[in-house]
């Protein structure tokens, strides 16, 4: 089995770190659906992207 760092343990540690980052970033795209009625309260300049 090939490894990026040279060892399985270090690869798994790096994988866990990056998986945490992935899971941390994904919810950022949902912000515009969270609160019903939010649209009237928020600045319209925040909506170029989800």
């Amino acid at each position: 089995m090939p490894f990026i760092t040279g060892s399985r343990a270090a690869d798994l540690a790096l994988l866990a770190l990056l998986a945490a980052l992935v899971l941390l970033l994904a919810p950022r795209v949902r912000v515009y659906y969270e609160v019903p009625g939010w649209a009237k309260e928020r600045s319209t300049t925040d909506t170029k992207e989800r």
Binding site: M1, V22, L23, A26, T44, E49
Partner: protein, 260 residues
């Protein structure tokens, strides 16, 4: 095959170098276009909340952009190995902290994963797990959206109606309770439920090998259709780029087997 061995194979199977190369070039193109678009944003959107002066003086200058493009071109051409990825990452990172930069942050995470596999695909065997992370990223984005939309307000269509009234990035007005598709008037609640159903299918479908291409076709149709209704920056193209993580043959065929 034991569970441990299956997990081992899922994470540490050798990755296919050709697929890594194709993905790298596609990623460079989407990253370049997504970040380049930032130049067109008004200053107040493009800046971050911290040190706005630094943004105008450094990060949004032609020199900075030239450096970014140079680094991206080097990675795209396979020059510089992982160092090229690191240099481009360092240059792009400040730009990913502007407001409304969620898709750029996702792209940079994918950039890190691609960088782990190096810029030169012929450097020898590397494990497939960075690609698994990209796959996880795609499914998580859809799953999070489904979870966030599973509210009575959204499923009734109330949120969509409110958004279409208030948000400048909506191209349609749903105030009358329907979306006009030519002669058809599709009820807003059906649009809302349909969106959730499609995104749920996209979160799961890619993991089922037999459904991968059908899921990709559904996703492309969904995102292109979405572009007719509202503008959401580069998230659409980012998601469609990530489809490649499932569609390209990243799992290297076993020795002696022909590539289909």
């Amino acid at each position: 095959m034991s569970v441990a061995r299956r997990i081992d194979r899922f994470l540490f199977a050798p990755v296919d170098a050709w697929s890594v190369g194709v993905f790298r070039v596609a990623l460079v193109l989407v990253v370049a276009l997504a970040f380049w678009e930032d130049r067109a944003l008004p200053g107040f959107l493009a800046r971050t909340h911290w040190a706005p002066g630094l943004w105008d003086a450094v990060f949004r200058t032609p020199a900075w952009w030239a450096a970014c493009l140079l680094a991206l071109a080097a990675v795209g051409a396979g020059v510089g190995g992982r160092l090229g990825f690191v240099a481009a990452f360092g240059l792009l990172l400040p730009l990913a902290f502007a407001r409304s930069a969620a898709s750029r942050q996702i792209l940079l995470t994918v950039w890190v994963c691609a960088g782990l596999l190096g810029a030169r695909p012929a450097q020898g065997a590397l494990p497939i797990w960075p690609i698994r992370l990209v796959q996880l990223q795609l499914s998580t984005v859809y799953a999070v959206n489904v979870w966030a939309k599973l509210t009575p307000e959204f499923l009734r269509g109330d949120v969509l109606v409110g958004l279409s009234r208030a948000m400048p990035n909506f191209r349609v007005d749903l105030s009358e309770g329907h979306l006009a598709l030519g002669p058809l008037a599709v009820p807003v609640w059906l649009c809302a439920v349909g969106t959730v159903a499609v995104e749920a299918a996209l979160a799961v479908g890619f993991w089922l090998p037999r459904l991968r291409w059908a899921t990709a076709a559904l996703g492309v149709t969904f995102h292109l259709g979405l572009k007719l209704v509202l503008t959401i920056g580069w998230l659409d193209w980012t998601c469609m780029l990530l489809y490649l993580a499932f569609l390209l043959p990243f799992e290297r065929p076993a020795p002696g087997a022909d590539r289909r």
